[in-house]
Symmetry: C2
Subunit: 202 residues, 2 copies
């Protein structure tokens, strides 16, 4: 069984993915993919992470409420990273029994019929979730935080276009879409896990 989780920034998609993997006894992949891509491309891990976050569509990062320019990203570097990512995701998919968060894995692995989940929430819930899990040194205003969320999701949407003819977040590209606004994710996992199995066995 392969489960892919696509998600709006701040919607708790990563938590859904981790907990689903635990509940179903599947391997969980998210940030370690970045490490593997960095190794394979011989690029810095933070740099790979930033490129994959914004796909080259954002040329600054938010920190301490200020915008800091990113190191220049060349088109060929982006291509290298995306090619490496695709290879690694395909290899993971071939092994099977995994949950992959983000990285257009829904589209990259479509021939393996993953159960494709999209996690989203209203803006207020996403802001709250970002605040709750923000690093101590992040001091963004609400306005800056909303801007950051939108920028990151814009990058995800753009990158997704490379791999799929379904727009990112368009229901037709997913089996299940889950609104986590005001929801305690932990409490929905057991039944969600069972429903995911139904979709896998359909």
């Amino acid at each position: 069984m392969i489960v892919t989780i696509s998600r709006q920034f701040g919607s708790g998609g990563r938590e859904v993915g981790k907990r689903l993997a635990d509940a179903l006894g599947l391997e969980y992949y998210d940030k370690q993919l970045v490490a593997e891509i960095a190794k394979s491309t011989e690029l810095n891990e933070n740099y790979v992470s930033e490129v994959l976050k914004n796909g080259g569509y954002r040329n600054y990062v938010f920190s301490f409420g200020r915008s800091i320019p990113l190191i220049a990203t060349t088109p060929s570097t982006i291509t290298d990273i995306l090619v490496a990512q695709q290879k690694i995701i395909k290899a993971i998919g071939e092994k099977g029994d995994c949950v992959i968060v983000g990285r257009s894995a829904d589209a990259i692995l479509k021939d393996l019929s993953p159960v494709r989940i999209f996690v989203y929430a209203d803006e207020q819930s996403r802001v709250k979730r970002c605040r709750d899990r923000a690093p101590e040194d992040e001091h963004l205003t609400d306005k800056q935080l909303v801007k950051k969320m939108k920028e990151i999701d814009k990058g995800r949407r753009k990158l997704h276009e490379l791999f799929s003819h379904y727009p990112w977040g368009d229901k037709d590209g997913y089996d299940l879409m889950l609104n986590t606004s005001d929801t305690t994710i932990k409490s929905i996992i057991p039944h969600l896990a069972s429903l995911v199995c139904d979709f896998h066995n359909k």
Copy 2:
């Protein structure tokens, strides 16, 4: 608990609604709403049904592969029907413990925090489902059937605009979205019902 089911024509939304109501011990409302509206407005039931299906945006019905003109619908009749529908849905919502399919109940009952489900499927699955349940005397070509599906969904989308600022089928207006392509609805109901309870109790 109130569950509302919005659905693309041919996606099996009605079956999801009926089976969920059975599984959860809730009252099920769909076509009997039309009867109540007809009674309350003193209009013919088939006529009310046609108006609610297309909201005045379609002025013919498909039958035997031919288009048959509908009786003229006046704006005031449509308004009467919609007002009656809204009152009846609110009364049902106040009683609680129900599943309501369609009729913008998700938006009309939003203050009662229903669990809002949207059911959809790819075109091929919807055509197949329509064929399987079509009346014996329906002889539409695939092209005509797809046209009919699109017309009906266009009517639903337009009518929904009257009641909600979320577009019909837009994820932000729902708690759960379910893709029934190639799915045997019966087999997903027990776990879906449990998940719906989680959303109700969140």
